[in-house]
Symmetry: C2
């Protein structure tokens, strides 16, 4: 006989554009099973579990769930709480009190860890219980996954932002730096290249946390591109580090020379864009140097979603319910590419996913470490789907008469 | 008999998402007239005129023009050159050499001024010539216009960015500040409010260059909203000024107290977001304060266009050709609202538009100067058209059992 009881779904970490698809997938699929009495949603992730702040999603209408699915950012709200053993013990107490037998936690690497600890408590107490981690992160850095829900849509935003930045930079030439999220993995920054169409389109240079950022090489790279095109568009990950592994922001600040030449402006990582801009202005003879920090816009902008990402986010939610309730197993849902382009969903052991960070494969980064490869474009294209295409004038030039 | 000769089109100032619609409107319409021999496009605005850098757009295919029309940012490139009398004299020389009889310049207030000066040279030299200024600017600040092409699309970007920021801030509460373009006019910042749906949706506070920014009042406002909602989303224009008319960035830096409490971080206007964040952190007991500067993303993001804006941008381009070639007049095209929602296009005198800045009507701003009014929403809604809608869960809460 199948395990009977209630289902609890929660969302953790940074929101994505499609995280509610996973929520709705898990909720609607769970509601189909006779073993399931109620489907609850915890408000503010694990924090809401401790506080017993639950919504009864069994009493949510299907239409409203479908509308919520299309809304970006966690509809159940999120938390930055990182549960320790004591915290997880309390979670488990609440689960027992509310007869929660199925727990689906939508989140990143940290969330997989939480699911694992709670699951251990259940098994040590002989409390019958199934727990599934549902992957999500715009960083695309979860182990054992070809990619993660949330990434495709954020990648689409970044790619289309760079289409615009490239065109803006063509119209009013200079150097433009776009700072993209990604502390340890460069997937999102690399997506800046996705919608390049003409050979001289930017971004011309891409710097990722997977490779050492060398300031002198950086200057040489920019100089070379600027000489060739009279402009230069750069995509840089917020997480770029020097050869000692220190974030570039702090490394430049700690270098006395840069403090002197830059004044005291550049302290926070969020200023990486102005920091690199000033570095270029001070060392190369280029007047127009601009930067944008994509910040929160790239993870929550409403109305820029990848269809594939949306569908997959829905499916990982559905699969969580199916694995737990049909198959009575625990684990972390993974996305595996089985065709070009097709995926299937498998269940990995929680401990094989928890607290680990996937970074970009070496074949995705060029040998100089300042751009991506065609192999990466082939990897990312199907995840983003339809993307905005720019078009140029191709008319012939007119012969000069005056030559003033 | 109508004036025969060549047409020249150019684009100036900051690019917009729909500026190429105006270009293509002017080009395609001009190509219909037998009076017109060639239609040229100047590369890099007035700079390209001086340098005789022209494309022969008569030899551009219609399909390609239509594709370019949908591409954001100036396809003919732009310039920040502000022509003086000498510069305009040279422009006029080039016009004569290339038998340019019709000049269409797509740009902001500055561009209208250039058109006026060049036109004066023509009329003083008895050179038969028609010159039309075609309005564009995301700032929406051109005199005598109900609104300007480019604004609706940028407003849509800002509104949808704030939908996302608001949802993100609900999921992970704190204070979030979004810094929007607009040095003297607050129209774009005000558009942050457009997609608000629920009474507690952000932005909760909006600060515009049209009203004095008082730091103490600002703190009181934030404190009040934060107390009510346990979060606060703020839209602020980059151009906010203190009562002496100084930009807030510099005013806070010059105040000794803030230098001491903030360190020396805050020097540039581009840091307005971190400046206000630190001000809140240091004076209110709120830990999570974040900011985003929308920067170039808001004017060139590919794939976020208002349909109305797109059509109107096309029409002002077409009307320029019609006014100049059918009616043999000079001036600046204006957009006038004649219904809800419908517009017509008229021709204003260049000097009535040149170098003037339209700011927000008093009825668009609330009496406290920290938000906009319903009147503004009614004004802006038809300009943006379809906009992204968010949806919330409405399920009932579950009764607590443990109350740990």
């Amino acid at each position: 006989m199948k395990l009977k009881g209630n289902v609890l779904v929660a969302q953790g970490g940074g929101p994505t554009a499609v995280i509610n698809q996973s929520l709705v997938g898990a909720v609607l699929e769970s509601r189909k099973f006779v073993e399931v009495n109620r489907v609850y949603g915890a408000i503010h992730g694990v924090r809401g579990i401790i506080d017993e702040e639950f919504l009864d999603l069994t009493q949510e209408t299907t239409h409203n769930l479908e509308q919520v699915a299309k809304t970006p950012s966690s509809a159940l709200f999120s938390t930055r709480d990182k549960p320790d053993e004591k915290y997880c013990e309390n979670i488990f107490k609440v689960f027992k009190a509310h007869n929660i037998r199925y727990f689906f936690y939508i989140g990143g690497n940290d969330s997989a860890n939480t699911v694992e600890i709670v699951n251990r408590y259940a098994s040590e107490s002989d409390y019958e219980f199934r727990a599934i981690h549902i992957p999500k992160t715009i960083d695309n850095d979860i182990y054992l996954n070809d990619h993660t829900p949330g990434y495709g849509s954020a990648a689409k935003y970044v790619a289309q932002a760079f289409v615009g930045i490239n065109l803006d930079n063509r119209a009013l030439p200079g150097v433009h730096i776009g700072v993209v999220m990604g502390r340890d993995a460069g997937f999102l920054t690399a997506a800046s290249s996705l919608a390049k169409k003409y050979p001289d389109d930017g971004p011309h240079l891409i710097y990722l946390p997977e490779r050492v950022f060398d300031k002198e090489e950086f200057l040489k790279d920019v100089k070379k591109v600027y000489k060739k095109y009279n402009r230069c568009v750069i995509a840089v990950s917020e997480g770029i580090k020097d050869k000692e592994g220190n974030p570039i922001a702090s490394s430049i600040i700690n270098s006395k020379k840069e403090i002197d030449s830059h004044g005291n402006i550049l302290l926070s990582q969020s200023n990486l864009g102005s920091l690199l801009s000033n570095y270029i202005k001070n060392n190369l003879n280029i007047k127009r140097v601009r930067s944008d920090t994509f910040g929160y816009l790239q993870r929550s902008f409403a109305g820029c979603v990848s269809d594939v990402d949306q569908h997959e986010a829905r499916e990982v939610g559905e699969k969580a319910a199916q694995f737990a309730i049909w198959h009575e197993v625990n684990g972390s849902i993974t996305i595996n590419r089985i065709g070009n382009y097709s995926v299937d969903y498998r269940l990995a052991r929680l401990k094989d996913v928890a607290n680990k960070t996937k970074v970009m494969d070496a074949k995705f980064i060029n040998s100089k470490g300042n751009n991506i490869t065609t192999s990466f474009i082939n990897y990312v294209k199907p995840l983003v789907g339809d993307i905005y295409e720019s078009q140029r004038l191709i008319a012939p030039t007119v012969k000069k008469i005056l030559k003033i």
